[in-house]
Assembly symmetry: C2
Homo-oligomer: 287 residues x 2
């Protein structure tokens, strides 16, 4: 069934995600801070564009958003021209931005007061996953809202998990990033050690990647790490933002994250070196 939807913020992720919704036959109205990006999108897809989030959100059953951080989300969702002021009761706002669980809970409350549903729904899978429509979506919010939005998210997701009440999607994404931090740093240390030990690191990966040392990062990043190529993938500036959110949350919930804190500092070192745009696998540069 074709739905009237809005998609706010056509970044690296939002642009293809909105495209998948349009390709599936939904009536998409897009909004982007710089209008030129909207025009580019409309050159490629059927749909409309709006001059503000509120305008885009008017008449939409579902409003999607994928932005950079908490402040960006607030700028698009709150205030007179924000999405919430334009949405009608009964509609659902789905935020695919990776941000804090606190903001997710606050927005869910604001939305509820207006009779609007809210889902925090950060994704993983990166630009390639967004383009192929193969993202993983981690969703927090009320089951009724989730049930209504799930089919639409299937347009760009391969795996969708409903993790609990508002904020649970963000918390799940934090777990994801914490796990990645450990994997990548361990892999970086292992690969550099292999090189310094005079081994053929590619041959080492081939033999150890069938057992207990295996990881997605080993399967997908070891070769480029060995080559020293990092001009792709997930920028460590973004990873650092995500780890900062996780470390903040850990302060509140009493978790100890010694390795995560250490790796976060290594990323700080790379940022200080001007390497913030490099892929997260560039940790090996420090070794």
């Amino acid at each position: 069934m074709s739905q009237r939807v809005a998609f706010l913020c056509l970044g690296t992720m939002g642009f293809p995600m909105a495209g998948h919704l349009a390709s599936a036959g939904h009536e998409v109205c897009v909004y982007n801070r710089t209008a030129e990006r909207s025009r580019t999108w409309l050159d490629l897809h059927a749909g409309r564009s709006a001059a503000s989030p509120a305008e885009a959100a008017r008449d939409a059953e579902f409003v999607f958003l994928c932005s950079g951080n908490d402040d960006d989300v607030r700028a698009v969702v709150e205030g007179e021209s924000g999405a919430l002021s334009g949405m009608r009761a009964g509609a659902v706002l789905i935020d695919h931005t990776t941000g804090s669980a606190e903001l997710a809970r606050a927005l869910a409350e604001q939305a509820e007061q207006r009779g609007i549903g809210f889902l925090d729904a950060p994704v993983s899978g990166g630009q390639a996953g967004a383009e192929r429509g193969a993202l993983t979506v981690m969703v927090g919010g009320a089951p009724t809202h989730f049930a209504r939005a799930e089919a639409l998210m299937r347009c760009y997701a391969r795996k969708i998990g409903h993790m609990g009440p508002a904020g649970s999607g963000q918390l799940t994404k934090m777990v994801n990033q914490i796990c990645i931090a450990g994997v990548v740093q361990g892999l970086a240390e292992g690969l550099r050690f292999a090189d310094r030990a005079g081994l053929d690191a590619i041959a080492v990966v081939d033999v150890i990647s069938k057992g207990a040392a295996q990881s997605w990062q080993m399967d997908n990043r070891a070769a480029t790490m060995i080559e020293g190529r990092f001009d792709f993938g997930f920028a460590l500036d973004w990873m650092r933002k995500d780890l900062g959110i996780a470390l903040d949350e850990a302060r509140r919930n009493g978790s100890r994250l010694p390795l995560t804190a250490l790796v976060d500092q290594f990323y700080a070192e790379l940022q200080a070196d001007g390497d913030g745009r490099l892929d997260t696998s560039s940790l090996i540069k420090l070794l």
Copy 2:
């Protein structure tokens, strides 16, 4: 073709490995420090036992060994009753123990002086892998010796890599353990965080294990870590020995291993708590 082989040290790993050689039709002579273990083995398999490593090694084309550490290997290989003194020229000694690259190079040299081949060939895959004959073997040594021994190792290995000259097998195993240290600690931090954040950690693993956070450890250890079960698998006493070897080698080859050193200290903490026999995944106990 049936070969005359010896297998020294029937520990958790050696016992089933020697069994696979016997099942494949080779004439196996076993040696174990405590003779009772040899008798148990002979109750289950066709073969002979010997009273000393030298005696077991006499007449053998290939002598296998899987022991605990460098000192154990020396005790079985060197000296009057050691394997090398019993072996004839042209035979090959294959050491499956995880130990230092230094010892591997020293033994290769001693062996060569007697016209004997030497391969350092540490394994991964644990007790389960040894029993199922599905180990990974990382081999260092001369190509001619490797070529002769490879078919025999296939009796208990699913994956065999020839990594370079003597010591290269040990160095590869070190890379394996370095990678595992990062993966397990990251996973432990992620799972404990999930729990403290009020999430269903099993559901979190289900959704994040399809993407960039995936690892063998996540697929195979997350459930038991969440349950708090650690009475199986690879004892952290052994992991600590292996990490010590890697950290020593890093001192020599100039590698920096900040995460590995940190995780090694966490294992030290668990040992101090009397938990040295627990599986390596028990890092989560500290969080």
